[in-house]
């Protein structure tokens, strides 16, 4: 990449941070650049520097860029084998808790949050669970709250659901209206959607399960490390962490806090402190 272009991108991100408080400076550059280029070509502006001017003086332009910077690509029961492992290996552990606190960090438009709610309901756990679903983008969170998706996609989601070990008719979980699928509102009762930014915000309560998939891939190593340590600090002893299939704890400074629960599916369990921890540690090795 030309040096001038790299400077332009850095200045743009700096301007966003100083004016709006959103910090993308430690995002993976290659993806950020793609998104900036996309907005540039959509906007008809002639350079990244012109975009910088536009976003400083036009909040609406910033809103559109913010949407570009969010990852809005998701699906219900994405990676069915992961959800199968969730059902088989994680659910039995969650049963031990009288009340289950789950943090879904970076929930985007909510498809995977509802997938989790469906799974918990089928396992008889939804009534005693609270899912905190967070994202930094309010527009995306509103869509998640609505829980209205394209009917066209339901066929694919049904296949995912079945591969993930689901045995109910998937259509039990939504109502079709015109070309939309409206997710059963009773699934939402245990879900609290709220604003949280992994880059700038802090610890989020004492959780039993943290779910953050395909978010960290957009961060550089330093920011990944911050987020992973935040997760470790937000989990109770023995708590569970679920990452995306290409993500890992391996390079983070808190990797020693965890053992593999389902290695292939990137499900980790935080060690117990004290005696229990030693047992866990030995058993894990």
């Amino acid at each position: 990449m030309e040096e001038s272009e790299r400077i332009e991108i850095q200045l743009l991100l700096e301007a966003i941070f100083r004016k709006y408080g959103y910090d993308f400076r430690n995002y993976s550059q290659a993806s950020i650049k793609r998104r900036i280029e996309h907005r540039l070509s959509m906007s008809g502006l002639d350079s990244i520097s012109t975009m910088q001017h536009a976003l400083l003086y036009d909040a609406a332009f910033m809103d559109s860029l913010l949407l570009d910077f969010s990852t809005n690509v998701t699906e219900m029961f994405r990676d069915p084998s992961f959800y199968l492992a969730l059902r088989q290996k994680v659910v039995p552990l969650l049963r031990e808790y009288p009340f289950i606190r789950i943090w879904h960090a970076g929930c985007a438009t909510g498809e995977e949050v509802y997938s989790m709610a469906i799974l918990l309901r089928e396992e008889g756990l939804l009534k005693r669970a609270r899912i905190y679903a967070t994202d930094f983008n309010e527009v995306v969170l509103d869509k998640a709250r609505e829980g209205v998706y394209s009917l066209e996609q339901m066929k694919e989601y049904t296949t995912n659901y079945q591969k993930a070990g689901g045995n109910e008719p998937f259509s039990n979980y939504y109502t079709a209206r015109y070309d939309s699928a409206i997710i059963d509102p009773s699934l939402r009762e245990g879900i609290l959607f709220s604003d949280h930014n992994l880059v700038t915000d802090g610890v989020f309560g004492e959780m039993h399960l943290i779910f953050c998939r395909n978010v960290l891939i957009y961060f550089d190593r330093e920011l990944q490390n911050r987020a992973l340590c935040l997760f470790s600090d937000s989990l109770c002893d023995g708590g569970l962490l679920c990452l995306g299939s290409r993500e890992s704890l391996r390079f983070s400074s808190c990797s020693g806090d965890f053992e593999d629960l389902a290695r292939e599916e990137k499900i980790y369990r935080k060690f117990m402190q004290g005696d229990g921890g030693d047992v866990g540690r030995n058993a894990g090795e």
Binding site: M1, R6, S28, Q29, A30, S31, K33, R34, R35, T71, V73, T74, N214, I217, Y218, D220, R221, Q224, G244, S245, R246, E247, S248, R250, F251
Partner: protein, 197 residues
Amino acid sequence: MSGGTQGNRFAAAVIGASAGGVRALQIVLGALPAQCGLAICIVSHQVPKSKSYLVDLLADGLELPVRVPDEKEEIAAGNVYVAPPNYHMLIEVDRTVSFSIDLPIHFSRPSIDVLFKSAADAYGAELVGVILTGANGDGSLGLKRIAECGGMTVVQDPETAEAGEMPRAALAATPVDHVLTLEGIGGLLAGLSKSTW
């Protein structure tokens, strides 16, 4: 335009393939020496939901190590890196690997364009871009970017490709340095890969 002496101008080759790609890739990779001075990064379109057998198919009989890289792994010469299904693979300017789940391009994730454009930014004139057989237009914009950044561009002769559409789209999009058969491309890369050791 860094790149040092004549001998080691190239650090990496990116290869894009689609329909008919596995056999084509086997021929090209089969021509490379076991001590390969290039890093090879590959996007080959696959059925998105299927478990990936691509790595196994390509590794079979090859001395070079073939694998899906780890996220943020540093790219090193002598390795063949394959994009996993359902993710875009990108190269950062510090020559590490990133993945993304951004929307498919040309109905494809991984997309050849996404890999090629990011690699052009990371490697500039030290990059070789190769478009093989395929039945869509993915890769041509990426190859154009590689040419603009001073890299070498190579396209499989569409007449010899199992599916000629992708090579033709690339030839229409940008001036290309070499139009060759699969054996010719293998020989070219083998020559380029020798110099750095």
